[in-house]
Amino acid sequence: MKKYDAIVIGAGHNGLTNAAYLAKSGMDVLVVEKNPWIGGASVSRSLHEGWTYSNCSYVCSLFRPEIYRDLELARHGLQVIPYEGGLTFMQDGDYFGNYSDHERHHRELARHSKRDANAYDRFSADVSRQTRLIRPFLMRTPPDPTSFKPADVMELVHMLKTYWDLGEDILYDTMRFWTMSVGDFLDEYFESDVIKAHMAGSGIIGTALGIYSPGTAYVLLHHYMGDVDGSIGSWGFARGGMGSIAKALAGSFQSFGGEIMTDAGVDKILVKNGETKGVVLENGDEHYADIVVSNLDPKRTFLKIMDENDLPPDVVKKAKNFKIRGSSGKLNISLDGMPTFRGIEKGHELLKADFHFIDSMERMERAYDDWKNGTWSKDPYVDTLIPTQVDPTMAPPGKHMMTVFVQYCPPKVNGEEWTDELRDEFGQTVINQIAEYSPDFKDLILHAEIRTPRELENEVGLTEGNIFQGELTMDQLLFNRPFPGYAQYRGPVKGMYMSGSGTHPGGGVMGAPGVNSAREILSDLSRKNVTPEAFSDE
């Protein structure tokens, strides 16, 4: 059988990014993907004729513009269109709107609290300061703080200098920020419950923690550190759904001569004498390469497709202890028309973005209580969008597609496996919540895809359905991601690497783990670095 220079396991967007850079450097690269389609959690599929869903991820901000530009994704069909707005419906019939125009936003904030309207500027400046700290490190390999290798020492010095340049007081802020809860953080600025509830959502999305759990302030930052066309914190739609990102990456990869094999689930990574030799597929086929990159999460990588006897015991232990709890569900819905929402005109600009139905911190925390008690939130926090108001390609004219991300939804229900009946019951809970605010919503539903952590795990291979391939808490970030000593994309076996969201800088459709990993591989092979440098915010 043919021997490749490298095999990448999993055609998620990070795997494809990684593969594209290896291929760009002239390597002969094979991507093997278990599903009949590519994209992993960055996928668009049609499950109801005429409609396309972004089945998993649904909005884009984190994707690194350097990769977008460098791999010529525009030429390969990718378009990302920023959206404006957002709102939280309130139980009393009012709402809180989120405008991207500063003055309009100020007026809306002031409608709920004049003080909060002004505090928002303080909040924005403080969050900007934190994003400026993290953004320069997205496209860099974290240093190993215990190593005395010159590269590590220099990277550590670089990191400390970046901190230092931000001024003394930001050090205090940063230490607090990275460890505090999003609830406590917001309490330092705002008094209005609905304003806090609206913003707290970014702190818990994809996270098995509550708004008052330490560590969630960072998760908020993770959702603010991206940009669309240089506008930091903005989000956009990938035209045609999030699968367009994977499709464009695949196009770029193939333009460099790369090969993608679908329906090709990997059973095992072949290891001989402490070196990787290739992969064995579930159908028994073997493919060979000295470099094998796993784009799967750390648990799947080390506990499912590698043999424990090929691994150091501490890696097995760390993989077993890796925090990757499932906490999210999703509904994708085909609609016969645009639903009517209580208290806001059809076609209002605020409806073109994310909307939510939880208007208080108390309700947010209660939603988490349900998850802790082993069941889905009976009054969930949902992140809902109707992208077809902006993207004409995802539903027939006049019809609409709705994406509903649901926090919280447990990996098991009261300790028992999910069943189809329970899944439908979960879906009904979400639909009922939306229907409380939209009288015609239920009648417009033509088809719904309901996804619990069970479906996410079975389809995408995200363990427990954790959307980020592992939780974004301090103990699993930077040089601790996925585990201390293994944060530089190299596995414990020679020739074995990691490229997925389980590595720095973490989850989201970002591409950064994939490109950072490629840079390390090329360096180990003494090949020229073909990965782009990060744009500067200065």
Binding site: Y99, E103, H106, R115, N118, D121, A125, G347
Partner: protein, 395 residues
């Protein structure tokens, strides 16, 4: 789909009906929540209305806070860098206020309206900071930006215009004093204040009376060359007066993201507003330390050789090191000088220092570069005596 007026991004001020009738250019720009006129007719014409007759400027977007309560004065003393004890009813004081780093949040004017009642007028919004400072004081703070409107009435014939409105004894108002008059069933407050460095007043009424005030004023000013003026003309006069503007000449401390981008009052030429003989005020500790250790920057007013405006220029010393930059620049039609405001690193910017501005200008799309010698000057570039005369002479 149509957008309701209340949902528009930028709003119309209560003077919109009048301003839009008179605006020949249709050129408007957003200023805080409102759209305001850039230029009604010609910038030069409006400029000379201010320096030669009477110019009227819509102040609606200025942020206004109503501060009331028995602890009001003590509260203002804590908030402001300047000693406020001389602020008695009927008086106005200009001051700056700082955060704990001693960096300027804003500068503005405080009006002592009556016993236990003040109005703070500022460029930026500060509710969060004002409330935070209010802890422990028996005061109440309300944002009255949308409830009160103001018109700046500025220029040599402005007093005559007001006299023609039958505002008796208005000529006796000294700079930084105010008085109130009955006006169409409401109170009209007139203060001798402004942003032009000239003889001038500001007129304040509840928003519902905006159009009435405008009409009465313009009727009275007919014989005195009254004209509405836009923000472009105002910008020239305020640079001539040497006044700084938030977001232009300094970044208000609240919005600072990058360390060190804020400026202290000393670094903005506002030393005279800092009164260390007050035992407690926001930013005092940091400012005292700065006073002892020295500032990082100096605010400069520059007279620049030649006639090419030095907007956004780098400032160099004689060794051709960059030592600062220009924040505001214009040709001054009254001083007949090429003038600018800027910020330079210490120790540069002393009187007599040899400084240069790097000016780029184009002639028919051909760009030229010029190193123009700058002279540091003190005080306003144009400072007519009428600015202080009480009562002002009829011009």
């Amino acid at each position: 789909m149509s957008v309701r007026e209340a949902d528009k991004r930028v709003l119309r001020t209560p003077f919109y009906s009048r301003a839009s009738e008179l605006c020949q250019t249709n050129l408007w720009s957003p200023w805080k929540a409102y759209t305001t006129v850039d230029c009604y007719s010609y910038v030069e014409e409006e400029y000379f209305a201010i320096r030669n007759a009477t110019g009227v400027f819509d102040l609606t977007p200025m942020i206004k806070y109503r501060i009331s309560g028995p602890d009001g004065l003590a509260y203002l003393d804590k908030l402001m860098t300047r000693k406020m004890s001389k602020l008695t009813p009927g008086r106005v004081m200009y001051s700056a206020w700082c955060n704990d780093l001693g960096h300027v949040l804003d500068d503005g004017t405080v009006f002592h309206l009556e016993e236990n009642l003040w109005r703070l007028c500022s460029a930026e919004r500060h509710m969060d900071w004002l409330q935070a400072t209010a802890l422990g004081f028996d005061v109440e703070i309300e944002d009255e930006t949308d409830d009160v409107v103001g018109l700046a009435v500025q220029g040599p014939t402005s007093c005559q215009t007001l006299k023609a409105m039958n505002l008796s004894c208005v000529e006796n108002l000294k700079p930084f004093q105010h008085m109130s008059f009955d006006f169409e069933g409401t109170k009209l407050m007139v203060s001798r204040t402004g942003f032009t460095g000239d003889l001038g007043y500001e007129l304040w009424v509840p928003s519902e009376y905006a159009e009435k005030l405008w009409d009465t004023l313009f009727e009275a000013g007919k014989a005195f060359g009254i004209l509405p003026i836009g923000s472009h003309a105002l910008d020239i006069v305020r640079i001539e007066a040497g006044f700084i503007q938030a977001e232009v000449d300094f970044v208000p401390a609240l919005n600072v993201v990058r360390a060190g981008r804020g400026r202290s009052p000393f670094e903005l030429g506002l030393d005279w507003l800092v009164h260390f003989d007050k035992p407690v005020f926001n930013g005092r500790r940091a400012l005292l330390k700065e006073k002892e250790e020295g500032s990082r920057y100096r605010f400069v007013r520059l007279d620049i050789e030649g006639n090419k405006p030095a907007s956004d220029s780098f400032i160099y010393n004689s060794k051709k090191d960059i030592v600062g930059h220009i924040t505001s620049a214009t040709w001054s039609p009254s001083a007949k000088k090429n003038i600018a405001l800027g910020s330079v690193e210490m120790p540069w910017g002393r009187l007599g220092d040899e400084l240069y501005a790097e000016i780029y200008y184009n002639r028919e799309l051909k760009w030229n570069r010029l190193m123009a010698r700058c002279h540091v000057v003190e005080g306003a570039f144009f400072d007519p005596p009428r600015r202080r005369e009480t009562p002002p002479l009829d011009y």
